[in-house]
């Protein structure tokens, strides 16, 4: 089973034996990988019926729930790591979910598409909202309502009092060294609440 590239990197950031909460866990691939490769124990939260079914099939712990209603089910500091991969940009209550992540977990990890990518800028220069393989939606049907750039995210993290403990800006699954704010398609951050 090949793991999505951002999930592979996220997995590398998670210490062996961690208790992990994966928000918007999809088919449970990250949790299944962490269980097998890093001896982690984890729970996923997922709203989609099909994905929940996949989790059940692969014996991944899963709770069917809507993240927008928060993480009330989970107590303070219950997890070592709370993951939110490629979902932040689709959340209505962006600040709320980030605060909840550091409440229920010691560390948070998020990944999101970089809206500042040069192709997006080009698209906008040509008068259109960007449509890319990573975000293949038209402006009127996109679930991605809170798009941002790495810098934008860091400003919000600072406002929320988070300490950023890890950052990776990627294109094609590889770290981008030169002009990452323009060339990275995906941003990953690890943080702790203060």
């Amino acid at each position: 089973m090949t793991l999505r590239v951002d999930l592979k990197l996220i997995a590398e950031w998670i210490a062996a034996g961690s208790d992990v909460l994966d928000l918007g866990c999809g088919d449970g691939a990250l949790l299944a990988h962490l269980r097998q490769a890093r001896d982690c124990r984890g729970y996923g939260v997922e709203i989609d019926d099909g994905h929940v079914l996949e989790c059940i099939r692969t014996s991944v712990n899963v709770v069917q729930a809507d993240l927008e209603s928060g993480l009330r089910m989970f107590g303070d500091d219950m997890f070592d790591v709370v993951v939110l991969s490629q979902t932040l940009q689709a959340m209505h209550n962006t600040e709320g979910i980030l605060r909840e992540m550091v409440r229920v977990g010691r560390q948070g990890i998020v990944s999101f598409p970089n809206f500042g990518h040069w192709k997006h800028l080009l698209s906008l220069t040509g008068g259109h909202m960007p449509v890319t393989p990573q975000m293949p939606y038209q402006w009127y049907d996109t679930p991605n309502i809170h798009l941002c750039t790495p810098k934008d995210f860091e400003i919000l993290a600072a406002k929320l009092g988070f300490a950023i403990t890890g950052r990776a800006l990627l294109a094609g699954g590889q770290p981008v060294a030169w002009a990452p704010n323009l060339r990275a398609t995906l941003a990953l951050y690890r943080f702790e609440g203060r």
Partner: protein, 379 residues
């Protein structure tokens, strides 16, 4: 000829227990009998047994038909059978009628060996925990050391949950659907109205109506009408009946004018034909009393700390009797205890009754979970 997916014609069996069953109340049940049915084959390793616990008005007859009775389809036949979510080609499934019920196991209609008269009002109050103890004895006699799963919906789910606390080593998986860790004040209130209707029926005779050759049919019917309302969603009733009238126009009378009235009366009458009033009191009381957190200062997390099973829970969005939030309380406490759990919240229109319905999303989830159980236990 057996219909595909059906366990076919089934024959109930009786197991007699001579040793009295001590009860939570301090009383005990003298020698008693349990009715049960089984479907599928127990494998050589005895690892594929599944116990199905019934709710308020059901019985040991979970699946299939009884010989010569066309209308005798088991109450969870859409769930249990060859190729069904609980696949009897893989699992050995047991349905058992709980003591206190009225479908053949020892209950208020049975003759009390001490007096030679029917138990009636003298049948002891039984709890979910008492039922689990009785079920465990049946498992002993059937040679089942450990269940692959104990499953149930509603009150049946309470029994499955209680198994994980009373017999943590004897249950690998708990499958609890549309259930709750305890009744709310509103739930108890509905039960109280139902019981009051029965107790106030002049034909009830304090529970000893058998001796008078009568039955508190009106009270039992009203009890069923109330219960039935709580099993359906408002939207479901609106869609089924709306404000449909039985006749063209209002009759300006207090007879049955609306379709929903007709439906409820029919349900009440039908129920009064086959159900026992004392059993209704007993079972609703068992519902009221169930509260495993009570012995732990109301702390469900502590109550579930002793559970070793893995869990599957499901709830239905339109169930207002045991709403999804009640299942989430259990899930929350399980996660706090780091227990394995899968929880599906099914978007279904049929209220509490949805757990008995043939909903593809619901059945796919249960089937997937039982497939996993099968892989784990070698079924």
């Amino acid at each position: 000829m057996t219909a595909p997916g059906s366990v076919g014609i089934v024959t109930p069996q009786t197991m007699r227990f001579e040793e009295p069953l001590p009860l939570a109340s301090g009383a005990s049940l003298a020698a008693y009998e349990l009715m049960y049915e089984t479907y599928g084959e127990l494998n050589a390793a005895r690892s594929n047994a599944v116990l199905v616990c019934h709710a308020l008005n059901a019985s040991h007859h979970v699946a299939g038909h009884c010989e010569g009775q066309d209308k005798s389809l088991g109450w969870w036949d859409n769930m249990v059978g060859p190729g069904k979510p609980v696949d009897t080609n893989r699992f050995f499934v047991i349905g058992v009628n709980n003591p206190g019920s009225c479908f053949g196991s020892t209950g208020p209609m049975s003759v009390d060996p001490a007096s030679g008269r029917r138990y009636g009002s003298r049948f002891p109050v039984v709890t979910v925990e008492d039922w689990v103890n009785a079920q465990a004895r049946l498992a002993d006699r059937l040679g089942i050391e450990r269940f692959a799963a104990v499953m149930g919906g509603s009150l049946g789910g309470m029994q499955a949950l209680s198994w994980t606390l009373q017999q943590p080593r004897r249950i690998a998986h708990c499958v609890a659907i549309a259930t709750t860790p305890k009744l709310s004040a509103q739930n108890i209130a509905f039960n109280d109205v139902a019981r009051t209707a029965i107790q106030n029926d002049p034909d009830f005779h304090g529970g000893d109506f058998y001796e008078y050759g009568v039955k508190p049919r009106r009270g039992l019917g009203v009890a069923r009408m109330i219960g039935h309302i709580t099993y359906l969603s408002g939207a479901d009733m609106a869609e089924k009946f709306g404000r449909l009238l039985r006749h063209k126009d209002y009759g300006y009378s207090f007879g049955i004018e609306f379709e929903v009235e007709s439906y409820l009366r029919y349900q009440g009458d039908k129920f009064a034909d086959y159900f026992d009033a004392n059993t209704y009191l007993l079972i609703t009381r068992a519902l009221d009393y169930f509260d495993p957190a009570r012995a732990h200062g109301g702390d469900l997390v502590r109550a579930l700390a002793g559970a070793e099973a893995k869990f599957f829970l499901a709830s239905f969005t339109t169930d207002w009797r045991f709403a999804p939030a009640r299942s989430r309380e259990i899930v929350e406490a399980l996660i706090a205890n780091r227990r394995d759990v899968a929880y599906a919240e099914i978007d279904a229109p049929h209220g509490h009754d949805a757990f008995l319905m043939d909903d593809p999303r619901y059945h796919r989830a249960v089937a997937a979970y039982f497939d996993r159980i099968g892989r784990e236990v070698g079924a």
